[in-house]
């Protein structure tokens, strides 16, 4: 239970910093606003009803979480190392794993609202394209997928972000590496289906979306567990590189 207490302490610190930074840094709002406009406006406008019935919205939600969480984590680990605040945290009695977990939890918590707002705006945009037709909402499997898989993708992104940030010299270097990784994630699905000669549509519009959500969730849980084990081993052997 002690370690949960420690995770909450780091989460509290990260969240307080994030709240204070939002008040003083307008550029962060601009980045979130642009992301919401593209993801919640442009894509649903093009996809019409597919936005609420296919798994596209789940994948987009996952990608938004990955993109935002990795950026936040890069600043939280490599950025703090540059500002010499990571060292001050590492020399406290907090276990390294609690520091990492608290930072990831805070990153997921702080970026989750951007994803949810984008998906909400997407719902409105999708309905707007249908003119006078009755309003429709996300199907239940899609809604569960957005929340569950989006959150899990955030955790996986946090783990990947920690590993890359811990081995980057600067926050900028970590952010660049993670941004490239984020954009590769956008391209890989289409390359993958193309290579297998499978229609992307058949994957995106499955007959049983619930099953796909379950498979995605299990895959993300396995990835998150693997990352936790890897980070835990690194933290035990070398601590957090300061």
């Amino acid at each position: 239970m002690m370690i949960l207490n420690d995770v909450c302490t780091v989460y509290w610190k990260e969240h307080r910093e994030w709240v204070a930074a939002q008040r003083s840094t307008k550029s962060r709002w601009v980045t979130a606003g642009v992301l919401v406009a593209i993801v919640g406006g442009v894509l649903p406008y093009q996809l019409h009803t597919l936005w609420t019935t296919s798994v596209v919205s789940i994948l987009i939600a996952m990608w938004v979480m990955f993109f935002r969480v990795t950026n936040t984590i890069a600043d939280s680990i490599a950025g703090e190392r540059e500002r010499h605040t990571l060292e001050a945290l590492v020399i406290t009695p907090l276990p390294p794993l609690a520091i990492v977990a608290g930072k990831i939890a805070a990153a997921v918590r702080n970026t989750g609202p951007t994803m949810l707002v984008a998906m909400g705006v997407g719902l409105i945009a999708s309905n707007w394209t249908r003119g006078a037709a009755p309003w429709h909402v996300y199907s239940l499997p899609v809604l569960i997928g957005i929340v569950l898989d989006g959150g899990l993708a955030g955790l996986v992104a946090g783990g990947v972000g920690v590993l890359i940030s811990a081995h980057s010299r600067t926050a900028r270097q970590a952010q660049q590496t993670l941004s490239i990784l984020s954009f590769l994630l956008l391209i890989i699905p289409s390359l993958f289906t193309h290579a297998l000669h499978v229609s992307l549509d058949s994957f995106l519009i499955p007959s049983h979306p619930g099953r796909l959500v379950a498979v995605l969730s299990l895959g993300l849980i396995a990835a998150a567990a693997g990352l936790v084990a890897l980070i835990s081993r690194c933290a035990r052997s070398t601590g957090i590189r300061v």
């Binding site: 207490n5 509290w12 610190k13 945290l89 009695p93 300061v242």
Partner: protein
């Protein structure tokens, strides 16, 4: 809060033939030193001497390539968590979060040490008030001067009394008044909890005033370890120099024949009289009675001079 109860028993710290290397640079070279439990140990030396490496080694942030560091009965690099649960450290730079307030900084320390909320609130006031920062507790520290930030960093370090206190350059950016005040607070803290304290500093008067034992480090080598007065006297010549002007030839001849006078050196209108220290007052009386002027009396080197002599930077 177990640290608070055990703080009265400071931790002994031992370095046995410790060598730390960064690439081509040897930051610590075969250093052996024993810091008794409950002592205030000051570490001085020029930039790059290895002072911060010493502190980081004690925190388990750096692994020696050879030798052994022991804090209490633990080796920091092998059991960093155990050691860090028994020490507070102020590093340089101090590592404050720009967006947090002073109150939030201290609250964070309390949370890290699992202090109950009510205790944290009381302790925040108890620690901030002596530093004169209580009225600014809700300001974001990004608005603060470097001196105020340094004082907050010190307040953070003293927030939870621990058996070992590591202070890397604690008086950086402090004005003379603040420095004097900080020394008083640190002395009060030590008198109350008697932790082992390791201080590194370039501020020799601070180290002389605060520390019970001083170690001089240069290029990774520990050159001397001794109490301040012993260190100063180790470089102390057993003579005082009395500089006089307008002295008559008769006076200078009389002085040069006196048993207590080692030598008399005349340069134009002034003369330097080297005197055995216990006899300085007699010589001063003779000079004043003769009507000559006393320009200067130098009895002992300052700590600064002593340290520079040991470092080899000051030659006679």
């Amino acid at each position: 809060m177990s640290a608070m109860h055990s703080a009265r028993d400071g931790l002994a710290v031992r370095l046995d033939a410790v060598t730390c290397v960064f690439g081509a640079v040897t930051a610590l070279r075969d250093v052996t030193c024993h810091m008794e439990a409950g002592t205030i140990f000051g570490l001085v030396g020029p930039n790059g001497a290895g002072k911060s490496t010493w502190v980081r080694g004690l925190l388990g942030l750096i692994q020696p390539v050879s030798g052994r560091i022991t804090v209490g009965s633990y080796q920091p690099f092998g059991a960093p968590g155990t050691v860090r649960r028994q020490c507070s450290a102020l590093l340089s730079p101090s590592g404050l979060y720009d967006h947090l307030t002073a109150e939030e900084h201290l609250d964070l320390v309390g949370r890290i040490w699992h202090m109950p909320r009510a205790d944290r609130a009381l302790r925040v006031q108890a620690v901030l008030e002596p530093f004169g920062l209580w009225s600014r507790r809700r300001d974001s520290v990004s608005q603060w001067s470097q001196g105020m930030r340094q004082q907050l960093a010190l307040a953070k370090t003293l927030f939870v009394p621990t058996p070992l206190l590591l202070l890397d350059e604690p008086t950086t950016c402090l004005d003379p008044d603040a420095r004097h005040h900080v020394v008083r607070l640190l002395k009060e803290h030590w008198a109350c909890y008697q932790p082992t304290i390791l201080v590194t500093s370039h501020d020799l008067s601070f180290v002389e005033d605060f520390c019970q034992v001083i170690g001089i480090l240069n290029k990774g080598c520990l050159l001397a370890v001794a109490p301040p007065d012993v260190l100063r006297n180790s470089q102390h010549h057993p003579e005082a120099i009395v500089r006089v002007s307008h002295a008559s030839v008769d006076l200078l001849e009389r002085l040069s024949r006196a048993d207590s006078v080692i030598r008399v050196t005349s340069r134009g209108d002034t003369a330097d009289i080297a005197v055995l220290v216990p006899c300085v007052n007699d010589v001063l009386t003779w000079v004043m009675q003769s009507g000559a002027d006393i320009d200067d009396v130098k009895t002992a080197p300052t700590m600064d001079e002593s340290v520079r002599r040991i470092l080899g930077g000051l030659t006679e």
